[in-house]
């Protein structure tokens, strides 16, 4: 069979292929759990089953990418499959149907590609864990729900995937639930996400009421006829869902705690894929958001604030995974900035590059952690480049990419976003700040500061971990082969994916771009403003790197004094800007108080008492009726005779 025939055959069978993408991880989840009946040594099979399942999904996704024509202008290829009518209630019809277009293709390629590698990595990472079947089953289940979320062709089905990934996230954060902090972290993630999900649900209801359908296509067609306020409200509510899932202000507090899970979980779910679901959802509904300028402005503001806040916190963290977690929040802030600026394709671009380099960074961090006997404190690392040079190269590449240094993938996506923010139309009714700076300029400034901070904290973590002298105990050792292979495969895309500016990707995402955005390399290069901004951003990143290198080599004493001059207790960075404490006093405590009042006043006194009372009434009446049962045969006979007598009398009389 030559290539052409293969192509034809695939096109004919593409519906089955689309189903296979979903079915493979689901089957993998079931089968890998079945290995629980095997002996502890053979349970490693679970990992390989999971990897194979993820790889099948990835391979089929690649086939879709190769065999379908994605470059066609306007009528880009798309594929869909109708499974079954799902909900038919009144005027609302929801189908379980899948939809593959360039946007979801981008997502599934990223999810399955990075996912396969992290599955492979997890085999090495979890080698000594005792519940491998459970882990890999959850992992594959997560992949299934994520793909369902991405491939859904209406909001309802997307919500199924949305909740499913939330569930898997909860299960995996609390994977080592024998320790209380891990279980609590899982609960926190779950509860915080529920707040966002409530917004998602309400937004969905509003759309269903206004549009009468939840199909993305139907929503898009109806936008012109909708009440602008309804659009704003629906967008705002859905944004709440996205903010919860993608860890933005005010719901970002769960993500740093989610690092309690195993590192592959952090890499796959809390860095590369699941947290981007909010971004994906907004891109998917971009026509709606384009019609809601106020919400767009809010997204822009939230994104930039989150990016700045998280980056500033990341600067002082000592836990290597916490640094990466805050970094993730910060990078997601970038994506939200792009969304707010209407540059949906740039958001997707950054999403993909971020998945690559943050996945890589987390894998490297996990390798360091296992290499140092599950130590996570960077103060106990140092000089690790020689015992684990493979991991060092991976971490270096990831840092290079995320810091936005020249030619790294992060540089391209980040600069594109900064440019888009700078040129963003003044969304909030042409407001300018003191008539001096446009809002776009302000947010660009924040973005630039974040770029600088990103370079700073990543360089800091790199230096603390790999340079200097080893400060931990015992010997540090390199990780297993599967982990190194997974990292090695991910290095090239993390480094070089941006070179082509993901051209095919960005081109195919043109329907999701602002009209005035420039997409191809040549277009951008010809734009003077873009080049100027690019140079400024590169300079900021470089300055951050150089500053930190200097600070931690010759200025070590100065850094120590700087750290000591503000006690940690009142340092806003070390205290994470007191956000957790604020929520504790503002929400958690009052809620707990109300719950306690309700428990004692209503539940105990009213509900429990009434139930007890009914039981007591039944018991007392039983006691009283029981007196009739004397246990004496004579009495029974007497009653029987009386019955006989009255029966006979009745019969005689009537």
């Amino acid at each position: 069979m030559n290539y052409g025939e293969l192509n034809q055959w695939f096109l004919r069978e593409q519906q089955w292929a689309l189903l296979l993408i979903l079915a493979a991880p689901l089957a993998g989840a079931l089968f890998s759990y079945c290995t629980i009946s095997l002996g502890p040594r053979r349970q490693m099979l679970a990992g390989w089953i999971a990897v194979c399942a993820a790889f099948v999904s990835f391979a089929v996704s690649v086939c879709f990418w190769l065999f379908l024509d994605w470059s066609a202008e306007g009528g880009a290829a798309n594929s869909g499959v109708f499974l079954f009518p799902w909900i038919a209630a009144g005027g609302l019809h929801l189908d379980a149907a899948l939809k593959l277009d360039s946007l979801s293709l981008t997502m599934i390629l990223t999810v399955t590609g990075v996912g396969t590698l992290i599955h492979l990595y997890a085999i090495g990472y979890m080698a000594h864990d005792h519940s491998k079947p459970r882990f890999f089953s959850y992992f594959n289940l997560f992949l299934f729900f994520m793909l369902l979320l991405v491939l859904a062709d209406n909001l309802g089905l997307m919500f199924v995937g949305w909740e499913g990934v939330g569930l898997c996230s909860y299960l995996l954060i609390g994977f080592w639930h024998q320790q209380m902090p891990n279980a609590r972290a899982g609960q926190k993630a779950f509860v915080v996400n529920r707040i966002g999900d409530a917004g998602f649900l309400l937004g969905m209801f509003l759309l269903a009421a206004e549009v009468g359908s939840l199909d993305f296509d139907a929503v898009q067609d109806q936008i012109a006829y909708l009440n602008p306020w309804a659009i704003e409200a629906a967008c705002m509510l859905l944004l709440l869902g996205a903010v919860g899932k993608s860890a933005q202000i005010p719901l970002f507090v769960w993500l740093p705690d989610a690092m309690a899970g195993p590192t592959p979980v952090s890499a796959l779910i809390h860095a590369a894929t699941m947290v981007t679901a909010g971004v994906y959802m907004i891109v998917r509904l971009s026509p709606l958001y384009n019609a809601a300028p106020a919400v767009q402005f809010i997204i822009l503001a939230l994104g930039s604030l989150t990016a700045l806040l998280a980056a500033s916190i990341a600067l002082v963290q000592y836990d290597i995974k916490k640094v990466l977690a805050y970094s993730t929040v910060s990078q997601l802030g970038y994506m939200f900035m792009a969304l707010g600026a209407g540059a949906y394709s740039y958001a997707m671009f950054h999403l993909v590059t971020h998945a690559f380099f943050k996945g890589l960074l987390f894998m490297a961090a996990g390798a360091v952690i296992t290499g140092c006997r599950h130590e996570q404190d960077m103060r106990r690392f140092g000089g690790l480049w020689s015992p684990m040079w493979g991991t060092f190269i991976a971490y270096l590449a990831g840092t290079y990419a995320i810091a936005g240094l020249p030619l790294g993938s992060g540089a391209y996506s980040k600069e594109a976003i900064l440019w888009a923010v700078y040129t963003a139309p003044d969304t909030a009714a042409g407001l300018t700040l003191f008539n001096l700076v446009s809002w776009g300029g302000l947010f660009w400034g924040i973005g630039l500061a974040v770029a600088f901070l990103t370079a700073c904290y990543m360089t800091r973590s790199l230096v603390l971990t790999f340079f200097g002298s080893y400060r931990g105990e015992g010997e540090a050792s390199e990780s297993s082969a599967t982990m190194l292979v997974a990292m090695a495969v991910l290095i090239p895309p993390a480094m070089f994916f941006g070179h082509s500016r993901g051209i095919p990707l960005l081109e195919s995402l043109r329907p999701w771009a602002r009209q005035d955005l420039l997409l191809s390399q040549s277009e951008l290069m010809r734009d003077d403003l873009y080049r100027a901004l690019e140079h400024i951003a590169l300079f900021a990143a470089g300055a951050g790197v150089v500053l930190m290198l200097l600070a931690y080599s010759i200025g070590r004493g100065f850094m120590m004094r700087l750290g000591n001059c503000i006690p940690e207790r009142i340092n806003p960075l070390c205290c994470k800007w007191w956000v957790d404490e604020l929520y504790e006093y503002l929400i958690v405590r009052p809620l707990a108080f109300t719950a306690r009042v309700l428990f004692f006043a209503v539940d105990r006194k009213l509900i429990d008492r009434s139930i007890d009372l009914s039981a007591e009434i039944a018991g007392a009446s039983g006691q009283m009726l029981g007196l009739l049962h004397t246990g004496r045969i004579g009495h029974y006979l007497l009653i029987m005779l009386a019955g006989l007598f009255f029966g006979a009398a009745f019969w005689l009389v009537f």
């Binding site: 029981g626 009739l628 004397t630 246990g631 004496r632 004579g634 005779l641």
Partner: protein, 100 residues
């Protein structure tokens, strides 16, 4: 008053005396005997009516009742033995574990 009517009256008296005994006596053995009295009252009526109508079916029924009475007496007396073994009494009111 015909022979049949008189015999039925005697049967009725036997039955009622038996029923009264079952009601008022507390000795379980006497209760059993009173049951036999009630059965005999019924038997007497059957035989009287068989004679009145010239039909042997009545006598056949009496025969069966005899057999059932024998069975009842055997099982009943066995139960009395069991009760006595457990309660050390033949008073039906003492063996009243089922009272409410």
């Amino acid at each position: 008053m015909t022979v049949t009517a008189f015999s039925l009256a005697v049967g009725l008296v036997l039955f009622l005396l038996g029923a009264l005994g079952v009601l008022v006596r507390r000795n379980v053995l006497i209760v059993l005997m009173c049951l036999e009295l009630m059965l005999n009252g019924a038997n007497l009526s059957f035989v009287a009516l068989a004679q009145a109508f010239g039909d042997l079916a009545g006598q056949v029924f009496v025969f069966f009742i005899l057999a059932i009475a024998a069975a009842e007496a055997a099982v009943g007396l066995a139960i009395v033995l069991c009760v006595f073994r457990n309660y050390r009494t033949v008073d039906v009111n003492e063996a009243a574990s089922l009272h409410g």
